[in-house]
Amino acid sequence: MNKILVCIKRVVDYNVRIRVKPDATGVVTDGVKMSINPFDEIALEEALRLREAGKAAEVVVATIGSADCQQQLRTGLAMGADRAILIEADSETDPLGAARVFHALIEKENPELVILGKQAIDDDCNQTGQMLAAIWGRPQATFASKLELNESTARVTREVDAGLETIEVDLPAVITTDLRLNEPRYVKLPDIMKAKKKPLETIAIADLAGDTAAQVNATSWAPPPKREKGVLVDNVDALVAALKDKGLVA
């Protein structure tokens, strides 16, 4: 195939301990480490492996956000993407808005395969890939843990509650990645240097899609309910006694 489009999102790094702002308007992001959403990194890694296996000619990585997102696009280029696209927006898009924008990009770029992470670890929505597939009128293969690309179809094994489900989809299609699809490569310094020369194009969001206003609006943020502090017991007998006391075991 000609082209794989990988859609990524800049998120607070997964290792960061999240704190809600005291004024309830969001989480603290000042000075906080930002990274490519881990699931999207897996998506990019999969695309790169497909290109390296000779199944695709070009891997394009795209994201929606402020100019700061160029940092993550450069990481994507350093990992091995051929081209990057920043769809510049001054406010957050929700998954439906993002899906509409990426669909407009698909109409420009005509990829045979679109891969993205199954969910962003900030909003945990798990919607964008599915919405994109719906708007595009194409198949969705979500929570992929294995991908087998053929001439005009893809066989995808998905991690579902009951176990592993395999489906077959006609291309072009949207695939969303789960954790065990692959382990992304580390970026090496020479690749970071090379990435500076790769093309990074900026498109204004309004030039791509009209209606991206959020329909689901966040009105306030709160820390999670705290659990009561627990106790340490010294031995199994004490543990058994505590469990019986709570009526949890006979």
Partner: protein, 312 residues
């Protein structure tokens, strides 16, 4: 007056308990009616079960061989056709619902609220973000149909006692052929289902191997518990993926959760925050799991777990 459509989830031909949880959530929306739709190749058994849930007004059955495999691409256009008459469409936040609901929302041109924890008002909900480290209150813009998934760990099943009418329907929808079900590999187990078990014994990287997991299974079987695992244990190949508990696995709310050899990464804790009592067994007293555990025992799990199994 508003109407709610709940999309039922099936396990084969049986109704998944997640459906009764969606009905419970729907009951807080001040709606005039809650209907349940069963989209399956064999609706009968599930339809009877759905009709018996208290609060259900009507059960709609859309039976067709195309529905075998519950593919989102096949179910979504049918749900969209039926959704025209409804103000809310709810599904469970299970892999079934997560796959299907956003496709329905996008086809309807509306956003989606994922993982409803609480209903604050008919258009306002709370949901977890950042792996449950922040709780977000959201409001859906006026005049938009509300599509949502219900966080099953936050809701008790609506009780039995319903006596809804069951109606067979044939939604007018173009069913795509671009997606085909191939197979489902499912570990069959006699143990209680992890998603709904009242007691869960869970193993992590500390357990060390697939063979060693036997001590976890033995303890679980002694007290009739389900078995779960951390992501690390699944990645290491000790157990299958369907046992994973955490931000990107199953979010559960048993009365008792025993974490064995699990360090307690933020992403794992997301999956168990709603458990009644959390017990942690780990040799590392600094393990983050002890910060959330109600009862902690520091020590060698290979000594503690067999002793615990013996004494229970």
């Amino acid at each position: 007056m508003s109407k709610v459509l709940v999309i039922a989830e099936l396990n084969g031909q049986q109704l998944n308990p997640s459906t009764a949880k969606c009905v419970a959530c729907a009951s807080q929306l001040s709606a005039a009616a809650i209907d349940v739709i069963i989209l399956s190749d064999q609706c009968g058994e599930a339809a009877s079960a759905a009709a018996a849930i208290a609060g259900v007004n009507r059960v709609l059955t859309a039976e067709s061989t195309a529905n075998k495999g519950s593919l989102a691409a096949v179910l979504a256009p049918q749900a969209v056709a039926v959704a025209a008459d409804y103000d809310y469409v709810l599904g469970p936040s299970t892999t079934f619902g997560k796959d299907l609901m956003p496709r329905i929302a996008a086809l309807l041109g509306v956003g989606q609220v994922s993982d409803i924890m609480t209903v604050e008002s008919p258009r306002s909900f709370t949901r977890p973000v950042y792996a449950g480290n922040a709780i977000l209150t959201v409001e859906v813009a006026d005049s938009k149909k509300i599509i949502a998934t219900v966080r099953t760990a936050s809701w008790k099943e609506a009780p039995a006692g319903g006596n809804a009418a069951i109606e067979s329907i044939s939604p007018t929808a173009e069913i795509p052929t671009h997606t085909r079900f191939v197979e489902l590999q499912s570990a069959t187990s006699e143990r209680p289902d992890l998603q709904s078990a009242k007691k869960v014994i869970s193993g992590g990287r500390g357990v060390g191997s697939a063979e060693n997991f036997d001590i976890v299974y033995k303890l679980a079987d002694k007290i009739g518990a389900g078995v779960g695992a951390s992501r690390a244990a699944v990645d290491a190949g000790y157990v299958a993926n369907d046992m994973q508990v955490g931000q990107t696995g199953k979010i559960i709310a048993p009365d008792l959760y025993v974490a064995i050899g699990i360090s307690g990464a933020i992403q794992h804790l997301t999956g168990i925050k709603d458990a009644g009592t959390i017990v942690a067994i780990n040799k590392d007293p600094e393990a983050p799991i002890f910060e959330i555990a109600d009862i902690g025992l520091v020590g060698d799990l290979f000594e503690i777990v067999p002793e615990l199994e013996q004494k229970l």
